[in-house]
């Protein structure tokens, strides 16, 4: 058991117009999504965006008001959590406080009437998988948060689910442990080859873990893509802001020719016009990655058709390897620049200095 599944993975998920309404306000508003088998999917979004409700509907702990859920090509509506082939790991772990680790892990086998000997053997196997076999006889209250989580993970895995559902699994851990568990979760998912659906509000977590990041807001999916695509090509302002590391700037198309569009806003930005359908005079929002902006003295002469922005440094924040610099000018409330420390300190700027910020036209991304 719990060997990597070599056969064709089952455990793909398909949601069609899935809707859940609480007190007349839709918590999940007709979302459709495909998650391929054996992939790691993160449902990401601010609190109240419907990600947990979506997860709970997948698990069978919440009944959809409309729409369909297919797991392994099978309509699961009306099936109990156990019949769906899913298993859920709860946010606060929800271990049975009156049972020791071994009995917690073996609980589902106990419910199926499997004998104590086999139950114990299997539970020990799964506990070993999460390196908790030494703690088999401990009660949950005698374990640290991280250990409780491992036991909860073992309890979810013992049913050999096709889909593991994780509700904010890392949010209760301290930062060090969080990073460590993140790595372990990813390794475990690869080893077992089952589908993981992981709810989180941390974009760092989602980018680090997922094959598919599903960014949600007020019950709808804003963007569902690979982490690289989400980060490098946010499709709208919300995504760019939520993912972080981007500046959302806006301007007006003032020049347009065959190759290049010039957008005047706070400074001048140039785009390869063939990539986007611009019209003269139109307002354009674009995302600019903070770490791809270069700072120069104001005397710097830019080449023709290269984007730039003059602004005052309002804040310098040293963050170890990086320095975070906030820029501001008359048309621009705030623009974040992330520089390597050695690059930044060459310029010996201080707050209040005027600088010229430049970037390549390949590093911008037009938003809807």
């Amino acid at each position: 058991m719990l060997q990597p599944k070599l056969a064709v993975h089952s455990g793909d998920i398909e949601l069609t117009s899935l809707t859940k309404v609480f007190d007349k306000t839709p918590a999940v508003d007709g979302i459709s999504l495909k998650i391929s088998a054996g992939s790691y999917c993160c449902l990401l979004g601010p609190s109240g965006c419907g990600k947990t409700t979506t997860l709970r509907m997948l698990a069978g702990h919440e009944t959809p008001d409309a729409g369909k859920i297919l797991i392994s090509k099978r309509d699961v509506s009306g099936l109990s959590p156990a019949e769906r082939g899913t298993s859920m790991m709860f946010q606060n772990y929800a271990l049975f406080p009156h049972l020791n680790c071994l009995d917690n892990v073996g609980f589902s086998l106990h419910m199926r009437g499997i004998s104590k000997v086999i139950r114990t053997e299997r539970a020990m196997e799964v506990l070993a998988l999460v390196q908790m076999e030494k703690f088999a006889q401990r009660m949950p209250s005698q374990l640290s948060g991280g250990q409780q989580q491992r036991v909860a993970l073992a309890r979810s895995l013992i049913t050999e689910p096709e889909v593991l559902l994780l509700d904010e699994p890392l949010s209760a851990l301290d930062p060090f442990l969080r990073t460590q568990m993140r790595v372990e979760l990813r390794q475990l998912q690869k080893k077992l080859g089952i589908t993981f659906v992981h709810v989180t509000h941390s974009q760092v977590e989602a980018l680090a873990l997922a094959d598919l990041v599903v960014l949600m807001q007020s019950g709808s999916i804003e963007q569902a893509d690979s982490p690289q695509l989400i980060f490098n090509g946010p499709t709208n302002t919300f995504v760019a802001k939520f993912i972080g590391g981007h500046n959302v700037l806006s301007g007006r198309v003032t020049e347009l020719n065959r190759n290049t569009a010039k957008i005047t806003g706070p400074g001048e930005a140039y785009f390869t016009s063939s990539k986007f359908g611009f019209t003269i005079g139109a307002n354009v929002n674009y995302a600019l990655r903070a770490d791809l902006i270069k700072l120069h003295p104001t005397s710097h002469i830019t080449s023709k058709d290269s984007s730039y922005l003059r602004a005052i440094i309002t804040q310098i924040e040293f963050a170890g390897a990086d320095v975070r610099i906030t820029l501001e000018n008359a048309d621009l409330k705030e623009c974040l620049v992330i520089c390597k420390d050695y690059e930044f300190f060459l310029g010996s700027w201080t707050e209040g200095d005027e600088v010229m910020a430049t970037w390549s036209r390949d590093d911008v991304c037009v938003l809807n």
Binding site: L95, F107, M111, R112, T159
Partner: protein, 278 residues
């Protein structure tokens, strides 16, 4: 101020009204007595007579029987009511309303609640008259009133709430996600009740048990009134000795009863960590 001094007022009250009387009873239980007077002394005759009498054992067995049967019934009803309140009544407001409804019987005194049964259970009472007029029975049922049945009925009526409250309290502390986790692990409703809710309600059951058992073990009014003097309990026997002015004998009885009840409570406390619950 030394914080230990702050305990003094409570200690003074407890000493005067609780510890003091127990010590006096303990001392008096070694006294001698005649038909007219108490004789301060240090004799074991009261205890020797108590343990030497067959009546003592039959009275204890009878009392334990009342306690045992009433306990089982109050537990069954109490657990069911608490379960309903905690898991089937969703809104807090309705929980409070229904909870208050449970306490309505406590707005009147024990005696009135007991006496209220007489017109219901009596030979010419409500039940017998109804059954007679329906033609279901030819003669009135005798065992309804002034019987062990009546005693247990009254105990259940009087003390079920003492079971409901602590069990409800325990159940409200159960994290709802634990129940979902059980469902997720494939447990059906009965299995959740038996393997999760039941064990997690144990502290409440233990506290309720202590209430019900110690109340019944010390009772004499209910037994006397509802059995019509036909059944005896430890309390009834003790009260009988008191009425005959055999205070030292009654005191010895009280000391033994206290030890028996404390032993029962001690055993219960060993099975459940109650302190965690308070």
């Amino acid at each position: 101020m030394n914080p230990k001094l702050q305990v003094l007022p409570l200690l003074a009250i407890l000493s005067l009204f609780f510890i003091g009387p127990i010590i006096i009873i303990f001392i008096v239980s070694f006294w001698d007595y005649t038909e007219f007077s108490l004789v301060p002394d240090f004799v074991f005759t009261n205890y020797v007579e108590l343990f030497g009498s067959k009546v003592t054992y039959s009275v204890y067995i009878n009392t334990l029987k009342f306690a045992g049967i009433s306990w089982a019934i109050t537990l069954l009803i109490g657990f069911t009511v608490a379960y309903f309140l905690a898991f089937h009544v969703r809104s807090l407001r309705w929980q409070i309303v229904l909870f208050l409804v449970c306490t309505i019987p406590f707005w009147t005194s024990n005696i009135i609640r007991m006496i209220a049964w007489i017109p219901v259970l009596g030979r010419n009472g409500l039940i017998n008259k109804t059954l007679l007029s329906l033609g279901l029975i030819e003669n009135p049922i005798d065992w309804l009133l002034y019987s062990d049945f009546a005693v247990i009925l009254a105990f259940v009526h009087l003390y079920t709430l003492f079971m409901v409250v602590p069990i409800f309290n325990s159940m409200m502390r159960i994290d709802r996600s634990v129940l979902e986790a059980a469902r997720d692990a494939g447990a059906n409703g009965f299995q959740i009740l038996f393997h999760v809710i039941g064990p997690l309600s144990r502290p409440g059951i233990a506290i309720g048990t202590i209430f019900v058992v110690s109340l019944i073990m010390g009772d004499f009014v209910t037994v006397q009134a509802m059995s019509g003097g036909q059944s005896a309990s430890v309390g009834v026997a003790m009260n009988h000795k008191r009425a005959l002015l055999q205070y030292p004998a009654a005191a010895a009885d009280a000391v033994i009863l206290l030890i028996v009840v404390l032993t029962m409570v001690a055993i219960l406390m060993r099975t459940v960590n109650i302190r965690k619950e308070l």
